[in-house]
C-alpha cells in the first residue's frame, strides 16, 4: 500500500512553538486580577483532624480566601470509585492529603499564609503494608467499607491443582516492585477562571484527561457538565500521572475561583508534586509454574497484591490489566491468577505508563529465565517452545485469530540485532576481573486500548474552512507523544492534502467530542480511526458534489496531491482549493464529526474468561549489561527493542517513543524508588529521586515491525506503553547472567546487587525526618 502522508517521518506539527519558547504551558498563563492558590498538606500519614483554625492565616496581607473540606460542595470524587477527598474531612489518609487551600494576591503570601493555619491532629496508627491491610482484623482505612480490599480479579482456566501433579518441574518464586514517580518535568499547574465565555468556570492547565477532569470538577461543584469548560494547554509530560491529582487541584482551584470571583492559579513545587501525586503501584507477586522436562509449560498459579494507598484511584483497572496479562504470552492449559488491591495509608497509586504490566512482566520474564536455568535450557529456547502463535488460546480463553501474532518475528529480529545467541554463550563462560557482562531478554503481549472494563470509543471533528485550511479537534489530548502530528497526518492522507493545511486545536471540552481518556496507548488506534472517519465523510461529500456537477461517478474520484482526479484516466478534475470554493458557492457543508467505537469485547468477572481486548501488540527487548561486582554498579550497554506496532503512522516519532520508554524502563529497573517509611516520603526532589540522565543512556536499537491490524487506521496499533514494560526484566535477566545471582526485587540498585537487600528500607519516621 502506498501512502502520501502516513507511514512517513513527518515533522512534528507543534515543534516550532516548543523550540522557541512560545508554547504556553499551564504555569505560563497569567490572567488579570489573578490569585495564587497554595494547599496545606497533612503532617501525618494517618490522623484524625480535631480542629482547623484559619483565622490567623486569613489576616495575612494579601490573603483573599481559605477553603477547607466544609467549603467543597461534594468532597468525594474518583474515576472508578468515588472515594478520594478533595480536601481531608475528618481524617487524613496519607501524607499528601490536602487540609486547606489559600488564595492570595502573591505566591509568597499564599505560601506564608498556609504556615499560619493551625491544625489540631490526633495521630492514628496506620497500615503501610497491603498484606497487613488484607488481614481480617485490620483496622479500616475507609470506615464506610467492610474491609480494606479495593478489588479482586480472577482468571480460572483448566484444573491447576491436577496440572501441577503432572508437572515434572515446579518452581515457586516471589517478586516485588517499588513505588515509582512519573517524574514529568513539568510540575502540575491549574488556572481556574470564573465566569468566562458563558461557562461557570473555565480551567486551563496541564491536564492529561480533560474529560475526566471536567467530570470531577462538575461533580465536586454539583453543576452540569456544560457549565465547566476544560481547555488543555501544552503538557510537560504526564505518563499517566496528570489525572486524579490534577482533577483534585482543578476542583480546589474552581471552588476558590468561585468563592473569590477571581482567577486562581495553582502550581505545585516539585516537593508538593512528589508528596501529593499518585505513584506506580508496588506489587508483591507469587508465581508458581509447572513444566515438563522438555520445557513445555503445563500450569501457572499467580497471586499479585497491589498497594493502592489511601484511595482506589485506578487500582481496579490497573490490577485488571495485570490479571489478563500475568502469565505472559505463553500457551498454558491451566492457569489460576488472582490480583488484589488493598487500601493502606501509603501514598495512593494510579495510572503510570504500563498500567499494571511493568510489574507482572518483570515477574513473569524473570521466572521464565529461572525456569530455563532449572531445565538447563537457554531462555530463548524455553520461550520459543511456549510463545503464542496465530490461533493460540490465551489464559482468558481468547483465541488470537483476528490479527498476526508476531512474537516469533519480534524475537527473531531482536535476537539477530543483538547477537543474542553468540553473546549468551560468550557471557556464560567464566569472566575474569570484577566487571562481568550479561545479556537478557524479555517478551510480552499487550492488549490494546481500554479492554473490557470500560466503554471504548472516540470522536473527532474535521472542519474545512472557507480558504481550504483545515481545523481538527479531538477529545484525545496531546501529552507530548506526537498525537497532534499523527492525527494531522491521518486527516491529510484521507483528504489528499498537504499537512501544512491542518491546524490541530487544543482539547476544549465544550467543543471537542468526548473521547474517553488519552490512556492505554489507545489514541492512534481509537482517535486515529475517528479522525479517519471524519475525513472520509468530508471526502464523500466532496466527491458526491463533484460527481453531481461533472456527471461522473463519485466512486471514480480520488483525492491526492492537493487535487481531485478521475482514477480511470488519472485526469485532474479540479484542485482541492477549487473544490472548497465550489462547496462554498453551493452551500455544501465541509465539516464532519467522526466517531469510532471499538469492536465488542467480553469478560466474566468470576472466571476471567472472555475476549478482554480486541487486539494485541507484541514486543521483545534484549539488554546487554556490565556489572562491576566490586561496587554493584550496573551499566546498561545496549538495548535492542523490536515492537510490532501494526503500522507506523510516523516512524520517527515512534522511535522517540521507544527511546523514551526504554530510558524510563532503565530507571525502573536499576535506579528509581520512591522511598516510603511508615507512610512518610523520603525523596521529594530530583536531588534524591534520581531518574536517568543523558549519561545513563545505553546504545539503543529500535526495530519497528509492521503487521497491519484489521482494526487500526492503516493497520496501526499501539507503542507508548509496550516500550516501557520490557526493559526492567531484560536488564534483570542480563544482571543475573553476569553475576550468577538472581535479584527478585526492583530496583536492582547497588546494595541489592552487592548485598542482596536494600539498605534504605525499613526506616522509621525519626530516621528520615
Amino acid at each position: 500500500m502506498k501512502f502520501s502522508e502516513v507511514n512517513k517521518p513527518v515533522k512534528r506539527v507543534d515543534a516550532y512553538e516548543k523550540v522557541t519558547g512560545k508554547a504556553k504551558f499551564g504555569a505560563d498563563l497569567f490572567f488579570p486580577n489573578m490569585l495564587y492558590g497554595k494547599a496545606l498538606h497533612s503532617k501525618y500519614p494517618h490522623a484524625q483532624i480535631i480542629k482547623i483554625n484559619t483565622e490567623k492565616a486569613l489576616t495575612y496581607p494579601g490573603v483573599k480566601a481559605i477553603i477547607t473540606a466544609e467549603d467543597i460542595p461534594n468532597n468525594k470524587f474518583g474515576v472508578i470509585i468515588q472515594n478520594q477527598q478533595v480536601l481531608a474531612q475528618e481524617e487524613v489518609l496519607y501524607i499528601g492529603d490536602g487540609i486547606a487551600v489559600v488564595a492570595a494576591e502573591t505566591k509568597e503570601a499564599a505560601s506564608e499564609a498556609i504556615k499560619l493555619i493551625e491544625v489540631e491532629y490526633k495521630e492514628l496508627p496506620g497500615i503501610f503494608d497491603p498484606e497487613e491491610a488484607a488481614k481480617k482484623d485490620a483496622p479500616l482505612i475507609h470506615s464506610e467499607l467492610e474491609d480494606n480490599q479495593v478489588v479482586h480479579h480472577r482468571v480460572r482456566k483448566g484444573d491447576v491443582e491436577k496440572a501441577f501433579t503432572q508437572a515434572e518441574v515446579i518452581l515457586e518464586r516471589e517478586y516485588t516492585t517499588q513505588f515509582v514517580e512519573h517524574s514529568y518535568i513539568e510540575p502540575e499547574a491549574i488556572i481556574a477562571v470564573p465566569y468566562e465565555h458563558n461557562s461557570l468556570v473555565t480551567i486551563y492547565g496541564s491536564i492529561q484527561n480533560p474529560f475526566s477532569c471536567r467530570n470531577a470538577v462538575a461533580n465536586v461543584l454539583k453543576v452540569p457538565l456544560n457549565k465547566v469548560r476544560i481547555i488543555q494547554n501544552h503538557m510537560g509530560g504526564s505518563f499517566g500521572g496528570k489525572d486524579e491529582v490534577i482533577s483534585s487541584m482543578a476542583a480546589r482551584a474552581a471552588v476558590l475561583a468561585l468563592k473569590t470571583n477571581q482567577p486562581v492559579k495553582m502550581v505545585n513545587t516539585r516537593e508538593e508534586s512528589i508528596l501529593e501525586s499518585y505513584k506506580r503501584h508496588p506489587y508483591k507477586m507469587k508465581y508458581k509454574v509447572g513444566a515438563t522436562k522438555e520445557g513445555k509449560l503445563v500450569a501457572m498459579e499467580i497471586k499479585c497484591i497491589a498497594d493502592s494507598g489511601a484511595y482506589a484511584c485506578q487500582t481496579p483497572f490497573v490490577t485488571w490489566r495485570s490479571v489478563v496479562q500475568a502469565t505472559g504470552p505463553y500457551e498454558l492449559p491451566s492457569v489460576k491468577t488472582d490480583t488484589y488491591g488493598y487500601y493502606t495509608n501509603n501514598i495512593y497509586t494510579g495510572a503510570m505508563r504500563g498500567y499494571g504490566s511493568p510489574q507482572i512482566v518483570f515477574a513473569q520474564e524473570s521466572l521464565m529465565d529461572e525456569l530455563a536455568d532449572e531445565l538447563k535450557m537457554t531462555p530463548l529456547e524455553l520461550r520459543l517452545k511456549n510463545i503464542y502463535h496465530n490461533n493460540s488460546i490465551t489464559a482468558s480463553g481468547q483465541k488470537l485469530d483476528n490479527h498476526q501474532v508476531s512474537l516469533e518475528e519480534v524475537i527473531a529480529k531482536a535476537v539477530k540485532a543483538s547477537n543474542y545467541i553468540e553473546k549468551y554463550i560468550e557471557y556464560n563462560k567464566s569472566q575474569l576481573g570484577d566487571k562481568k557482562r550479561g545479556i537478557g531478554m524479555a517478551v510480552s503481549f499487550r492488549g490494546c486500548s481500554l479492554g473490557a472494563e470500560a466503554t471504548d470509543a472516540a470522536g473527532a471533528i474535521v472542519a474545512i474552512q472557507r480558504d481550504g485550511s483545515i481545523l481538527i479537534s479531538s477529545g484525545l489530548a496531546e501529552n507530548g507523544e506526537g498525537l497532534k502530528t499523527v492525527f494531522s497526518q491521518i486527516a491529510a492522507e484521507e483528504l489528499g492534502v498537504d499537512i501544512k493545511r491542518i491546524n490541530y486545536m487544543e482539547v476544549d471540552t465544550s467543543v471537542s467530542p468526548e473521547s474517553g481518556a488519552t490512556v492505554a496507548s489507545r489514541s492512534t488506534l481509537l482517535g486515529g480511526n475517528a479522525v479517519k472517519n471524519a475525513a472520509q465523510q468530508i471526502k464523500r461529500t466532496i466527491t458526491e458534489m463533484i460527481a453531481d456537477k461533472f456527471k461522473v461517478k463519485s466512486g471514480d474520484l480520488v483525492l491526492r496531491n492537493e487535487n481531485i482526479y478521475n482514477k480511470n484516466n488519472n485526469q485532474k478534475i479540479m484542485s482541492f482549493d477549487d473544490a472548497v470554493d465550489l462547496a462554498n458557492k453551493l452551500g455544501v457543508f465541509l465539516s464532519a464529526y467522526g466517531w469510532y467505537k471499538a469492536p465488542d469485547i467480553s469478560w466474566d468477572e468470576e472466571t476471567g474468561q472472555g475476549r478482554p481486548y480486541f487486539t494485541y501488540v507484541y514486543g521483545c527487548q534484549i539488554a546487554e549489561v556490565e556489572v562491576d561486582t566490586a561496587t554493584g554498579q550496573i551499566e546498561v550497554l545496549k538495548m535492542v527493542a523490536a515492537h510490532d506496532v501494526g503500522r507506523a503512522i510516523n516512524p520517527v516519532t515512534l522511535k522517540g517513543q521507544i527511546y523514551g520508554g526504554i530510558m524510563m524502563a532503565l530507571g525502573y529497573g536499576i535506579m528509581e524508588e520512591v522511598e516510603i517509611a511508615s507512610g512518610y516520603i523520603k525523596n521529594t526532589n530530583f536531588d534524591e529521586y534520581l531518574i536517568p540522565t543523558i549519561k545513563d543512556m545505553p546504545e539503543i536499537i529500535p526495530i519497528i515491525v509492521e503487521n497491519p491490524d484489521p482494526h487500526g487506521p492503516y493497520g496501526a496499533k499501539s507503542i507508548g506503553e509496550p516500550t516501557l514494560e520490557l526493559g526492567a526484566p531484560a536488564i534483570a535477566n542480563a544482571v543475573a547472567q553476569a553475576t550468577g545471582r538472581r535479584i527478585r526485587h526492583l530496583p536492582l540498585n547497588l546494595e541489592r546487587v552487592l548485598l542482596g537487600h536494600s539498605l534504605s528500607k525499613g526506616g522509621t519516621k525519626n530516621d528520615i525526618l
Binding site: A15, K22, E186, D687
Partner: protein, 158 residues
C-alpha cells in the same frame, strides 16, 4: 511583609533592562514574571532538572539558583533570544528536523545548554555533548534524538 527592593541593570537577549527586584528574587522569577519570558521553565527549583537553564555571560546556568540582584552588568540569553531576525538558530531547526522534541518542557533548557556548549566548542564529540547536557533531565525522549540534533549542527558548523 515588606521586602527591600534592589535596582539592577543587565542585558536580556540583547536589550538592556533596569528592574526593581527583591533581595531574594531568583533570575527565573524575574524572567518569567517581570519580563514575561515564560520560555524558561521551572521544574525542580534546586538546580537538578535543567528546565530553567539560561546562558549567563556565556555559561549555561540554572536560573533558579541565581539571584537577580547579583547579576548587574551581566548578559543573559534565554530561549526567546535564540531566534534572530525571524530566523531560527541552527540548533532550534535541528531539534525540529531530528524530532528532538516531545512534550517540549525540557526543550528550552536543553537548547540553552547545547548553545552554550557550541559557543565554546563548535565540534563536540558525542561524549562532550552528553557531558554538557548531563544537568538537563528529559523524561520523554530518552535523549537519543536530542544528541542526534546537536551532532548534526556540530557537523555543519563552520
Amino acid at each position: 511583609m515588606k521586602i527591600n527592593k534592589i535596582t539592577v541593570t543587565f542585558i536580556v537577549n540583547g536589550q538592556e533592562v533596569t528592574l526593581k527586584v527583591g533581595s531574594k528574587e531568583r533570575l527565573l522569577d524575574t524572567l518569567r514574571e517581570q519580563l514575561q519570558l515564560t520560555g524558561t521553565k521551572e521544574g525542580c527549583s534546586v538546580g537538578e532538572c535543567g528546565a530553567c537553564t539560561v546562558i549567563l555571560d556565556g555559561k549555561a546556568v540554572p536560573s533558579c539558583l541565581i539571584l537577580t540582584g547579583q547579576i548587574g552588568g551581566s548578559e543573559v540569553l534565554t530561549i526567546e533570544g535564540l531566534e534572530a531576525d525571524g530566523k531560527l538558530d541552527p540548533l532550534q531547526q535541528a531539534f525540529i528536523d531530528y524530532h528532538a522534541v516531545q512534550c517540549g518542557f525540557c526543550t528550552p533548557g536543553m537548547l540553552m545548554s547545547a548553545k552554550a556548549l557550541l559557543i565554546h566548542n563548535p565540534h563536540p564529540s558525542r561524549e562532550e555533548i552528553r557531558t554538557a547536557l548531563e544537568g538537563n533531565l528529559c523524561r520523554c525522549t530518552g535523549y537519543e534524538q536530542i544528541i542526534e540534533a546537536i551532532e548534526s549542527v556540530a557537523k555543519n558548523c563552520q
